[in-house]
Symmetry: C4
């Protein structure tokens, strides 16, 4: 039963990262969590997301992990990302304190804009924090090849963050003699 | 063997839902069932489907689950859905009592139409029930991002509802010493 | 260990079938077989294929299984199928006795042609058997939705018939205490 | 536990190979390796790649395995490959001794160019080795169907070489009674 516990407890780090002159971007899916109902069935408890992490450069090929900022894409936002045409732009706004007393104090916006010469994109994150009085901005140029990785890997990951990878067809049970 | 029973018995709820002003739409694949033949082989007994569930709004962010209506897309209808171009329409007609004495008494039609401003679609379900003398209509606007989720997730689910995810290559058996 | 044997021995029938006026077409992937090398490693022994089965109609909604004909698409032919544009045609020629003394005696050709009104295709199989002096021809119209199922399901199945689904990343082994 | 060891130790050979007049090309993904952290979590140790192997022809349908040359595509290079439009070209440069004292002594370049008549591509590898004073060049014409296989199979393999196939949603643990 060792393998069973192993699979159940560990976390796996396999980010897709692009390191550029002024900032780096790491992307990694976070699976949903499930909860067991009294009926014995199972339902999604917390939906999965695609976590984007931006870090500012602090020298040549060095990035300041302490100053990182996160932006968690929902399934629908991942849908927008993977359906972007080569000349399309997209912008997402998040308020991490939404529905709390701090609502509106921190505003995050992620912008995806095509590069003028075609092919690639600029991905920019702005975080305005009125409590800490900070204003962070990250801008990461993404090549066409890198964006193709993001599109393909996010298309792969989308059913996983939705929990649909667990809806696999079940074969008839074998009698255990 | 706990895990084995677990996987065999549970049902998993992981719908993709969009909640809009007048109605909500939930989408979830239902895997096929298999049956074992005398030969020891296994065949699909009941084909899988993609279940759409519409619910009318009954107040702000509240939906009336009691008044829900279902529409079960076959593999071929899922094929039509995922191959819709940005200006294409599609309409499907179902008679849940087909081939019974009540044939024609209940008519369901699902219509998918592009929004005028491009990008999104309207998904509408009409259910005319001559027995109960009811006539229900649901209309849910779907954004481009939401439709991209539907397309990607339904493309992922299609081989699963067909049972093709079980046709995996088998490695040579290891001798168990 | 019941489940292990189960997975290793059974065959699974989950064809995608379209039943039309003059003939029916069933499609099902056949996984590759593997063989174990002396080194302990494993290699593909027989490559997988996508099996197409045509049957002539013998009355309303009845098809003559005895008169079925097969056409086995290789990985590369599946590649041609899934990359067909809406106005593209394709034709494949097989000689099931190739490299034997009967070479040339049986000629099979599969043709895929777009329908004039757009969207769908005609899939036709011709089998000329000079030994049995038979000449069979099947023609099955495929709607756009059905072709989308074929494309999506064949794209899913392609890495499986190549054996690439077994090349999964391995996690570090857990110590079994 | 035999199966467990089996899966952990074996290597699987399932290359996709095209054999042409002057050279052959084999393509096979190499999964990443993982390492266990002190925290009990797991992270990617060595990233996976898509391995291309070119062999020169040495007679009819014979290829010289001794003179093979490799080119290992990174995830981002695979992204470039799968996003190539029908008229696009791409070229990648590798220095296998990069960051060592032999840097610059061996230069490899892989070029992918569309064929004039549309549909297919030419894939060419040049290896200039200043230490051995060799200069090898391989040129393999790839049909549209073969390129569709490469695109589909590489799209499938991309999340695997990134290690994202291990990020699957976990169900709640079953109590083992």
């Amino acid at each position: 039963t060792a393998r069973q516990d192993f699979a159940a407890n560990e976390r796996i780090y396999a980010p897709y990262s692009v390191f550029k002159g002024k900032a780096a971007l790491s992307v990694q899916p976070v699976p949903p969590t499930f909860t067991k109902l009294d009926s014995g069935n199972v339902k999604v408890e917390r939906r999965g997301i695609m976590m984007l992490t931006f870090m500012p450069a602090m020298g040549e090929r060095k990035y300041d992990y302490e100053k990182r900022q996160h932006f968690a894409l929902s399934a629908t936002e991942v849908g927008s990302l993977i359906s972007l045409g080569p000349k399309d732009s997209s912008e997402f706004f998040h308020d991490p304190s939404m529905l709390s007393s701090n609502a509106g104090q921190v505003r995050k916006s992620l912008s995806i804009k095509p590069q003028a010469d075609g092919g690639g994109y600029f991905m920019s994150l702005t975080v305005v924090n009125n409590i800490l009085r900070t204003n962070d901005r990250f801008n990461v140029p993404i090549t066409a090849g890198e964006f193709a990785v993001l599109k393909t890997a996010c298309s792969f990951a989308l059913p996983h963050i939705m929990g649909w990878d667990r809806l696999t067809a079940k074969l008839p049970k074998e009698k255990v003699g």
